[in-house]
């Protein structure tokens, strides 16, 4: 009997939550967003470090640190850092434009996460090359569900 009740609760919960997640971006949409940022250029893995708590209790405010390995000199610096999420309703999270006057390519901000997912950071260097890195996280309470 208890199994039946649990099954019923699970079913109603799923039915009630379904519309909330229908607007969720997929990995394909995130890949599309990354393609739009990068264009025809080739994207390489490395040099970009994304830091997010591995277990997030509240997705409404998650501290995210992103750092790019770069000398940040006049001739060799990070032009931009783009953050893309795989499980949010919209894949784009934020874009930072830096310059050689930034000193360090390290930015911290607070983001919203709707689901357990991977966060990608794409760095555009001054020479036009693109580098990417990612971090995975587990979200127990999603943003967007709270009224």
């Amino acid at each position: 009997m208890s199994t039946n009740r649990r099954a019923f609760i699970a079913m109603t919960a799923a039915a009630g939550l379904a519309p909330l997640f229908s607007a969720q971006a997929t990995e394909a949409e995130a890949a599309q967003a990354i393609k739009q940022i990068v264009g025809a250029a080739k994207i390489r893995t490395g040099r970009v470090d994304v830091e997010i708590p591995p277990l997030v209790e509240n997705g409404n405010s998650v501290v995210m640190k992103v750092a790019v390995d770069s000398p940040m000199t006049q001739n060799d610096f990070v032009r931009a850092i783009h953050i893309v999420a795989e499980g949010n309703p919209l894949p784009n999270v934020v874009s930072f434009q830096l310059s050689h006057r930034s000193g360090r390519a390290a930015v911290t901000t607070r983001i919203r996460l709707n689901d357990s997912q991977r966060i990608w950071a794409i760095a555009q260097m001054s020479d036009g090359s693109f580098w990417q890195g990612h971090a995975a996280t587990l979200v127990t309470l999603a943003a967007c569900t709270e009224v």
Partner: protein
Amino acid sequence: MSKTSRTLVTMPATARKDEIIEIRIIVQHDMETGFRHSEQGVRIERDIIREFICTYNGVEVFRADLHPAIAANPMITFTTLATESGTLEFNWKGDNDYASSATSKLTVT
């Protein structure tokens, strides 16, 4: 109707030349995503800050394009090189003609 809100800038007042200084900015804003519904089931329109720009003596040194996935009361920590004494200006722009700005003086020795 133009809107504005409180801002908070944390940065050192003095720095040595070519020192990297860390700047933390926080601005009061709900960052309404446009995905939430009111108790009546009506969708709440998106209302977010779209853009943050930091200029150093008139030269742009940092810019951020924000999307709904930025948490309420956006906080950004970034760095810049202390090149010369002067004023750093911080400007936020957003939906519904939102605009706010702050300035901070920096003495470089």
